[in-house]
Symmetry: C2
Subunit: 350 residues, 2 copies
């Protein structure tokens, strides 16, 4: 649904732990930034640990049908220690990414003025990772035999298709072309994972020929972690596989201000299914319900959501408000989740 239709019909999934709190602030800022003539319709969905314990369900076909009818999805966080590892991840988060073909997992990293970084000096960080979201080792292919015995063999199969790799590589080239520095780095491990590595590398070079203005480079994933802490300024756009993207975007978030400010979009560029936007952080059960969670990552995810739906000016207003807010935070006493949300809502409306 484009901006011109003037209804924004949003599925809201607060989820577990701090999810509830941060999503409330995300919606507060969203309401404040939307033009008067855009009607925001939200429907809240109950997913995560509570529902799993109550019903055994994580994400049903009926749920998917319902979610499909929205323009986009805003998610807080899913996950709780009371649920065995993997159940909600595979049964909800990944199931949704796969069902809605969220093949572009977009994760910008920008170190904003005034924001603390664990890195020494004054690193310049402003890049975006385009992580493939529907293939690689995340497909759930694999299995186990003789489980629990000394003869167990467990496999995980990374599946990579030319179709899947090419579409995400194309998306990344288009994003690089649109940025001032026009640089794209492919991160993989093509010297060891030679089958998948050759596919990624070949597709990358083929598409590169169509983007002569984009400077390209290839870096192994292990070396990429070094550069992320020693020369993060070398990155502009990074395109990478699902698992490598998972790893380097957490590191990227850590060096560019922490997961308290890291936003992400699980995007279906063609729009066949609604895209989902969520903070990179998890449900943080240890601080849940205390008003301590920083809603900034969720608010920035709302900006990505707006940009995806065509509300470019509103997205930029949110990002500017966050920059200004973060710049003022240094040295101030910690504010509550709601206080930060209020401050941002005032700024975007102003």
């Amino acid at each position: 649904m484009s901006a011109s239709s003037r209804i924004l019909n949003l599925a809201v999934i607060p989820g577990d732990g701090i999810g509830q709190e941060v999503v409330a602030e995300g919606l507060k800022v969203l309401s404040a930034v939307l033009p008067q003539d855009v009607k925001l319709e939200t429907k809240e969905y109950d997913f995560g640990a509570r529902r799993y314990h109550a019903t055994g369900e994580t994400l049903t076909d009926a749920d998917l049908d319902a979610l499909k009818r929205h323009d986009a999805i805003l998610l807080g966080a899913i996950g709780d220690p009371s649920v065995p590892s993997g159940v909600l991840e595979r049964g909800f988060l990944l199931k949704l990414r796969f069902a809605f073909d969220h093949h572009v997992n977009l994760r910008p990293s920008k170190l904003l003025p005034g924001v603390a970084t664990p890195l020494a000096g004054e690193p310049q960080i402003d890049f975006v990772v385009v992580r493939e979201g529907t293939e690689g080792p995340y497909t759930g292919n694999g299995g186990t035999i003789r489980q629990g015995t000394e003869h167990e063999v467990a496999t995980e199969v990374s599946v990579n298709t030319a179709y899947g790799v090419e579409r995400v590589v194309r998306d990344a080239f288009a994003r690089a072309q649109a940025r001032p520095r026009k640089k794209l780095t492919l991160v993989h491990k093509n010297n060891v994972l030679t089958f998948a590595g050759h596919l990624w590398t070949n597709v990358f070079h083929r598409v590169a020929a169509e983007y002569p203005e984009v400077t390209t480079e290839y870096i192994h994933v292990d070396a990429a972690t070094i550069y992320l802490v020693t020369q993060p300024e070398r990155f502009d756009v990074i395109v990478t596989d699902n698992l490598f993207g998972d790893i380097i975007t957490d590191l990227a978030a850590a060096v560019s201000g922490g997961i308290g400010v890291a936003a992400s979009g699980n995007i279906n560029p063609g729009g066949a299914f609604p895209s989902m936007f969520e903070p990179v952080h998890g449900s943080a059960p240890d601080i849940a319900g205390q008003g301590k969670a920083d809603p900034t990552a969720t608010v920035l995810s709302v900006a990505l959501l707006l940009r995806h739906l065509g509300y470019e000016a509103e997205a930029t207003r949110i990002e500017d408000a966050v920059s200004a807010d973060l710049a003022e935070r240094a040295g101030q006493p910690a504010r509550s989740t709601a206080q930060i949300g209020d401050a941002l809502a005032v700024r975007v409306a102003g």
Copy 2:
């Protein structure tokens, strides 16, 4: 071969790029530190880009037979841009690790006084990663169909066996038990790679029961990269899969002084095959032949080699010499590869 036999029969593989230079210094320090009554016998082997271009060979059965007769192997670096990515990695480095069953890939990280780190503040870093070396996504299992077409499918299969996981987990518990802090962290991604993840997690818990004094924790690999830059002091011993180990040890090297000082051992603990010791860095063709390479990582790899062969006092002497040398480096003009080697040789002999 144990220390009591008083012959140290070493295979030396200088390899490509800076490999030649750093290995020469490693041997210099080794000769200087060995007790008078230990006879050092070295045999140099020609592997890497030169031989590959001349003969097409990377590592033959005859080579393996010859290498097998040594007590240990010291390697400089293998790899050159003139050789297609993967050829020397799979055809030499990984082939050797697999042929000699180097299942314990040992990578200590210690931030020594005076050494620069990209991290702010004064991080305390002193941990060792026990990386599995013969399984996971490194097995070369997988393949490709319809290569080069738009219908290509390329797979990589991570193979994990109870046998392979248990032996490396046991090795890691024993190392943790022997250290003052007695803490072991399992790093995996068991919420997504559930087949392999359950195997690793179950084996880890089973072996943990035999080590009641060792504190254990589990961390996802993505979160581990965050902790490596925000709270590296939380780690004592880490045990992890081959690929995750590859990634986090480069990051660990970066935060603890750079790959110029990162050593590693590819160890066959039972001694059925010789173990191989090598700096974590690569062949760095851009600075090869200029006497600019820092031989410290190779010298520290020699220390690991000596400890593995039972020369504990000599290993410690090297490590102390390196600490002292690094502490004096700050603010001094850069020294050449040979100057650093000379200084270390003097120190260990003194």
